[in-house]
Amino acid sequence: MLTLAMYFNHPIFLVTILLLLIFVNISHDRGKDLRKWLPTLSIMSTLIILINPFLVSRGTTILFYFRGKQVTLEAFMYGITMALFIAIILVVFISFNLILNGNRFLYIFSKILPRIALMIMMAIRFVPLMKRRLNEIGDVQRLRGMSMTVGDFKTRVRNGMLRVQILLTWSLEEAIHVTNSMKARGYGTEGKKSSYTLYFMDKRDWVWLFILAGLMMLCFYGGRLGYGQMIIYPELGPWQFFWIDWIVFCSMFIITSFPLFIEGREKIRWKLSI
């Protein structure tokens, strides 16, 4: 989907992709994570749309002059496509985060980079642990008068650094136990590490993969020939869709809404069986 978004820059294409992705995201967790990101997302998009025309003065359709520089419609449009593009990337990553939990992540990467995958997994676990420890240290230190909320800037910074120092000493001490526990259960022994969780591809998966790959090819080919794209510089091209544009648009629509289709089918089945 990312590649699709990179391939097409037609605003209608991008808006469709974005809307579909938002629906996909809502189907995961009712948009809980998305809502957290919403302020950042909207501020960033608005900034890009507003700033781009003032920085870039390429293009021929001049809207007005600002401090002697031309502000063009083309640059404005380009800003919009950029903003849409970035929004798509963010939404995809939010979904990615929700779907790909540690286990699946490890499964995908452990084949290629087993050590690094484990390290990442451990890091994921230890961040909240460290955070809890830092809180505990903060409480104890605050009550002995080493506060971070009173005093001048220098003392506050010094007290903050002391906390981090305690955290490091403590965590290093604890890390010895962690390595011991890993060694005791045979980590680092010779021989191949196996994996408990297996995600199998069955026949239906292959069929769907094939169909999706076909549609993907179609999109790529269409994009290659310039369909689904809009000419922005030097002069804004027409909005109009040719019939091949429509084909490309449909295949893109199917690819992006595929997760929705699967989840929706499940929901309908549940509802109907009652």
Binding site: G102, N103, D139, V140, L143, A184, K193, Y196
Partner: protein, 558 residues
């Protein structure tokens, strides 16, 4: 058949003059349940770790360790990893993965088992211990007891023949600790797994163990069946190990005129039977708390406090009201997750209640006032090492003296170090001290500023019985010198011996508040073993062994 055979084992850590183990001979038969006890630093953990080759400490080693007749070095790595399992002390630090299932299969994956094999073992184990409900949870969401169970299971999945446990219950509450011990007993009885466990809390373990071993300064001092060891310690009047003996057995040995070895009671049930044969003391009056705190000036007053950690989560504290008077030694008890620590932190002002007010010295706690009145209070957290910022205890104390402009600081530092008996640790790095020592050092540092209230969060967690007795006497002394103490704990025996007022935290509020005697007597589970023994007997209902012995003396005189 001997599964583990240790001959003349000595071990010395690098840069240390003393032997951590000094000529230890130790044999374990297949299927035995062995308990090793002894004060911190006696070498019991070193011994246990030397049995697990992958993590055996570096140092000078002499003597032989053999496993099933063959020296440990001659076995191949894989067999040893599989057949000798180890569970560590801290439940938190042994967990590596984020997800329970992933954690359970970690060992099997490392050894490259086939997926079918793993599934079979996991299914069997999860079903046997009925932990299906935990399988898809995050490891961080588990309670301490569940975490330790998870660690035990992940060791068991490799089908060990010997299970080593390093103080597995020291971080758990009494209920979880009992559950874990029952589990071990079952593994030992049903599957014939040899269990070697290093433990501090021996009150409940004597009647489960086939053998008890006591160590001191790198040597094995007592070794034999539970009752034999108890009698040995008694006959030799070996006071070093008295605190390790269950109080019921102690009571029997103290009161019985002709104790016999195979009648020494190890649990309440046996104790009841034996009690009948003990001389009765009918006419001794009922024991009651004589000390009443007459001071009613409240130092801390909490009123209708509601607290929750997150919006939408359940209320941890609910309409909680209580007051701490000057001169109290107040103990708040309650199960795990009942909100004890939350209560403590609310009183400290670290957590702000959603509703209700907390007043300290008659003033409402605000963000500012916490930072300005810190000299008056001391807070001993569950992790006392977080207190230290200097690299020796002495420097730490000097720093505090400087910060608070304390007069003749050197003299005060010295007297405090002496009071806590840690003069010899003066130049030690806090992280090089044992758990009990760090705690004492932290307390000594805090008392330098002469606080008027001491807050303690689970002060007995992970302490060996001797340190516990020491802490008990120190706290009693500090209390009699006028220090007000608020402690949250689940250590019943400790509370019974120290506190002047007890309260139970249940369902977010203080449900019962009373003097220790009124509080504990009549409880079924939530009381000391001596009390369970003396309830409805010909003895006056007592809480501690000291009380029984005291009233016994009175009876003798009468």
């Amino acid at each position: 058949m001997e599964i583990i055979d240790i001959k003349a084992l000595s071990f010395q850590y690098p840069e240390s003059d003393n032997y951590a183990l000094d000529g230890v001979n130790f044999h374990v038969k297949q299927g035995e349940f062995v308990v090793i006890g002894g004060p911190s630093g006696c070498g019991k953990t070193t011994l246990l770790h030397l049995l697990k080759k992958e993590i055996s400490p570096h140092g000078l080693q002499s003597g032989d360790i053999s496993y099933i007749g063959k020296p440990l070095d001659e076995w191949d790595e894989r067999t040893l990893i599989e057949e000798i399992g180890l569970v560590f002390q801290d439940p938190e630090n042994q967990i590596i993965m984020d997800d329970v299932m992933q954690e359970l299969v970690f060992g099997m994956e490392n050894l490259g088992y086939s997926p079918i094999d793993m599934r079979l073992r996991l299914a069997e184990m999860v079903h046997t211990f009925s932990v299906e409900h935990l399988l898809h949870q995050k490891t961080t969401a588990l309670s301490g007891g569940q975490k330790q169970l998870l660690n035990l299971l992940s060791a068991l999945l490799l089908k060990p023949r010997v299970l080593l446990l390093d103080e597995p219950t020291s971080q758990l509450d009494p209920v979880a600790a009992k559950d874990l011990l029952m589990m071990l007993e079952r593994l030992n009885k049903e599957l014939g797994i040899t269990v070697i466990i290093v433990e501090h809390r021996l009150e409940n373990i004597f009647d489960k163990a086939d053998r008890v071993v006591f160590m001191n300064e790198g040597k094995i001092i007592h070794d034999g069946k539970s009752r034999e060891v108890i009698q040995q310690i008694y006959n030799r009047q070996d006071h070093r190990f008295f605190p390790y003996i269950p109080s019921i057995s102690q009571m029997y040995l103290e009161l019985h005129h002709a104790p016999t070895i195979d009648r020494i009671p190890l649990n309440v049930n046996e104790g009841r039977t034996e009690l009948a044969s003990l001389p009765s003391m009918n006419h001794v009056e009922k024991i009651e708390n004589k000390v009443m705190n007459t001071d009613t000036e409240p130092i801390i007053e909490a009123k209708d406090v509601y607290f929750q950690y997150e919006q939408g989560s359940s209320m941890v504290l609910r309409k909680l009201s209580f007051s701490l008077n000057r001169g109290d030694f107040y103990a708040v008890m309650g199960g795990n997750g009942s909100g004890k620590t939350t209560l403590l932190k609310t009183c400290l002002g670290l957590l702000k209640p959603q509703r209700g007010s907390v007043k300290r010295f008659g003033r409402k706690l605000t963000h500012k006032s916490i930072d300005s009145v810190h000299q008056n209070i001391a807070y001993l957290s569950q992790q006392p090492q977080t207190f230290f910022i200097q690299d020796t205890i002495e420097k730490e104390m000097q720093l505090i003296a400087e910060q608070h402009e304390i007069q003749d600081s050197e003299k005060r530092i010295k007297s405090l170090l002496n009071l806590f008996g840690i003069e010899h640790l003066r130049n030690r790095h806090p992280y090089d001290c044992s758990g009990g020592e760090v705690q004492k050092a932290a307390l000594a540092c805090m008392l330098l500023t002469k606080p008027s209230i001491l807050f303690m969060d689970e002060p007995t967690k992970g302490l060996d019985p001797v340190s516990k007795i020491h802490l008990q006497s120190i706290l009693r002394k500090l209390h009699s010198d006028g220090l007000t103490i608020l402690m949250v704990t689940h250590d019943i025996e400790f509370t019974a011996k120290t506190a002047t007022k007890c309260a139970m935290l249940f369902d977010g509020e203080i449900t019962a508040e009373a003097l220790p005697h009124a509080f504990f007597t009549g409880n079924y589970f939530y009381t000391t073993s001596i009390n369970r023994l003396t309830q409805n007997s010909q003895y006056p209902e007592a809480l501690t062994l000291e009380e029984v012995l005291h009233s016994w003396q009175e009876h003798e005189l009468a």
